[in-house]
């Protein structure tokens, strides 16, 4: 790391002093694991559906979209936790709650021992915003075409009044650009977004997060817009930063294979709930929830199927239901190939299946393994879960 990098960490040290004050203040909150950085308890985010202005009248119940519907999650210091799910799973909303862009309607968020659920305005929120940063998906939308890279990276400092002296501001911006691999930093600071490639733009977005000296980075699909040859460089940068600065990541992605490569632990979300959580290799190699197993089976692979055979995939019928109409019982039951009576009425809790893995499925009760599931090579996928709304291919 260059001299610039050292300057950055000095800044970071100053901030952790502030952080220490925070944890002292929050010492009364229930202690979690010793190295726990973030804890989410019973988190709910319900958005009201307002179809017309009259819906605000008393006696009207316009209904809610249950984007996140009761999740518990702990992230340890220095850990990469991947939150994996399809669109509508609530993974992005969860990330937005952690960075305080969306207010939860239930549950709480505890960061470094302090309850930050109701943190609003003032110095405490500013400190939190320094320690927890978000990296967005789309560098094209995040960057302002008329703003120089240096000004973009400095913006969080300016907004939070963190670097009033121009010298200090400049030093921190250059250090962040350098740490994000945009070298020479002086040169990049003067450039504009259109002069950069897609990979460089995403590095700028990362520099914008690094300039605050964060401890937790919430990365929402940080590489999904990038070509494979560029994205591996970015992923490497993110992991290098973890090694150098002890960064902790909440990595939000739809790509289970990417999560497997990067994450220490994986949490699989479906329709606002966690279906399965555990060490990455356990979740991928021995899934205990039928949804996870189906996802693993359709996960993109470059290994062609053997001659004359079709890939052994469990293709679920239909699409994720709308979060305004969450199915009864286990919310996955209408699409589950292994559904039985209990699933239709009772929602399963996360059952511990050993080795730090837990699955929300009645079949996982007592740590049992799943029975075999039908694949495209076998018949009966369609028969298992017909859906009049969106009949699958298998039904044709």
């Amino acid at each position: 790391m260059s001299a610039g990098g050292a300057g950055m960490s000095a800044g970071g040290a100053g901030m952790s002093a502030g952080g220490a004050g925070m944890s002292a203040g929050g010492a009364g909150i229930g202690a979690g694991e010793p190295d726990e950085l973030l804890r989410i308890e019973g988190l709910e985010v319900h958005f009201p559906i307002r179809r017309s202005a009259l819906d605000i009248l008393p006696g009207r119940h316009p209904g809610v979209v249950r984007a996140v519907d009761g999740i518990d999650l702990t992230i340890r210091r220095g850990e990469v936790l991947a939150l994996v799910g399809e669109s509508g799973s609530g993974k992005t909303t969860t990330g937005r709650v952690v960075v305080k862009l969306t207010a939860p309607t239930g549950g709480r968020v505890v960061f470094d021992g302090q309850d930050v659920t109701d943190l609003r305005g003032g110095a405490a929120l500013r400190t939190y915003r320094q320690r927890v940063q978000l990296i967005f998906q789309d560098p094209y939308e995040t960057l302002n075409p008329k703003q120089s890279i240096g000004d973009f990276v400095a913006e969080p400092l300016d907004v939070n009044g963190l670097a009033p002296a121009p010298d200090d501001r400049r030093r921190r911006v250059l250090a962040a650009l350098d740490a994000a691999g945009l070298r020479p930093a002086e040169d990049f600071a003067r450039r504009y977004p259109h002069e950069l490639s897609g990979g460089q733009r995403q590095r700028v977005v990362i520099a914008g997060a690094l300039v605050m000296g964060p401890e937790l980075v919430v990365a929402d699909e940080p590489v999904s817009m990038l070509d494979v040859s560029i994205r591996t460089e970015l992923l490497r940068l993110m992991l290098d930063l973890r090694a150098e600065r002890g960064l902790t990541y909440l990595f939000i992605t739809h790509d289970l294979a990417l999560a497997w490569v990067l994450a220490d632990r994986i949490a699989v979300m479906y329709l606002g709930r966690i279906m399965e959580i555990g060490p990455a290799e356990r979740v991928i190699e021995d899934p205990h929830n039928p949804y996870t197993r189906a996802l693993v089976s359709v996960s993109p692979t470059t290994t062609p199927p053997a001659a004359g055979e079709r890939a052994q995939r469990t293709i679920l019928v239909g699409e994720t239901p709308d979060a305004a109409h969450v199915p009864s019982g286990c919310r996955f039951h209408p699409r589950c190939p292994l559904v039985f009576d209990r699933c239709r009425t009772e929602s399963p809790p996360l059952f511990d299946v050993g080795a730090g893995q837990a699955a929300a499925c009645w079949l996982a009760e007592g740590g049992r393994s799943l029975p075999l599931m039908p694949t495209t090579a076998a018949a009966g996928v369609a028969a298992a879960a017909p859906s009049p709304e969106a009949p699958g291919v298998a039904a044709s």
Binding site: E86, S87, S197, G198, G199, D227, V228, S229, I230, R231, T232, E233, L235, R236, L239, H254, D255, L256, A257, L258, W260, V261, L262, I284, A294, L295, V296, V298, S299, P300, T301, T302, T303, P304, P305, A307, R310, A311, R313, I315, L316, E319, T320, T376, P388, A390, P391, G392, V393, A394, A395, S396
Partner: protein
């Protein structure tokens, strides 16, 4: 798989009027499509050749800006106004489409070759019912009455797994997966021989992507379609195609049967692309880094266009364009490591840097 697949569900297609007897279904030879941009020439497609046989599925892969979409648009002659085919030929049953007039090409577009675009929301008309949108090309191109066309549209919707009654929906009332199914139904409207899918599953969730790929595979078997899938996602090709063509910076890097190219890649770029792909089913839990970025196609490097990023680049690579050499396993490679008469044994590229855990 390359042999003509029987078509139980439809009678043999009549060949177009000018077809040359015995000519292959589609033969693209030295295709060059260039763009004019602010007075400069962008060599988006710069000498691409390939062949597609009846019933075959060919995948064209590459990263943004490698020319794969321009290749697809050239085949159906739907290029933007500042692009034109400046060389080579596109022969369908021996008929050269590259030199046809804009009016003459309409005889072949949709009826012989149709295309499913990426992002069905933008490609569908938001203010027309899905069934009517599918019926429109049937009336236009096949000259049948509106009633027959609507009935045929209903059949097509069922074929792609949408209940007939949903045909009265507008595009915004359908989910992403259903819209993509509707797009496929539209591409099938005039019973074409070749369907091109340009990133047909890109914006879809993995489970919906699996459903759409499964649908395409079933349709191919059932209708004896020939498919060209254009995608940046190598897994889509691994799962659905017989042959793959890897493009880099407007040229063919490697082409051949999927089973060969994906398991024994020869071109350094193909090797790197595969190693950069996260793959649950592989033992490896690391990703390779490919340093650098693709070249600017206004001023492509002389010689091999991958040379500036290639870990195995030799002096000759930055001077001489590598010729395409075809080996006994029907794999064609454009790389100086594999000269005419060499054994064709893959030369392994060492990993420069990796991500993940070993």
């Amino acid at each position: 798989m390359t042999a003509a697949v029987p078509r139980p569900d439809r009678p043999p297609r009549a060949l177009p009027r000018l077809a040359v007897a015995g000519a292959p279904l589609l033969e693209v030879d030295d295709l060059k499509t260039h763009f004019r941009l602010a007075g400069e020439v962008v060599r988006a497609v710069d000498g691409v050749s390939f062949r597609l046989d009846a019933g075959e599925a060919l995948g064209i892969a590459g990263e943004s800006g490698c020319g794969k979409t321009t290749t697809a648009l050239s085949l159906v002659r739907l290029l933007p106004a500042n692009a034109s085919i400046v060389g080579g030929s596109i022969r369908l049953h021996g008929i050269d489409l590259a030199t046809k007039s804009d009016t003459a090409i309409r005889r072949y577009r949709w009826r012989e070759i149709s295309i499913v675009f990426q992002g069905a929301m933008n490609a569908l008309n938001p203010v027309a019912r899905v069934r009517d949108q599918i019926a429109e090309p049937i009336v236009e191109r096949l000259g049948v009455d509106a009633r027959t066309a609507r009935r045929r549209a209903g059949e097509l919707l069922e074929l792609v797994g949408i209940p007939r009654a949903r045909g009265s929906a507008y595009p915004h009332e359908l989910s992403g997966g259903m819209r993509q199914r509707a797009m496929i139904a539209m591409a099938l409207a005039c019973d074409p021989a070749i369907v091109i899918g340009d990133e047909p599953t890109t914006a879809l969730d993995v489970m919906v992507q699996a459903q759409i790929l499964d649908l395409l595979e079933r349709l191919r078997e059932r209708l004896g379609l020939s498919l060209i899938l254009i995608t940046h996602d190598l897994s889509v090709i691994a799962e659905t195609c017989d042959r793959v063509l890897i493009m880099y910076a407007g040229r063919v890097a490697e082409e051949g049967p999927v089973a060969q190219v994906f398991t024994r890649p020869r071109h350094p770029y193909t090797q790197k692309l595969l190693a950069a792909f996260p793959n649950i089913q592989a033992d490896r839990r690391t990703l390779d880094v490919i340093p650098g970025t693709p070249p600017d196609l206004r001023t492509p490097p002389p010689g091999c266009r991958f040379a500036p990023r290639c870990p195995l680049a030799m002096a000759v690579c930055s001077e001489v364009v590598p010729p395409e050499v075809t080996f006994a396993d029907r794999v064609r490679v454009a790389c100086h490591l594999y000269s005419e008469g060499s054994s064709g044994e893959p030369v392994l590229v060492p990993a420069a840097a990796t991500v993940g855990r070993a």
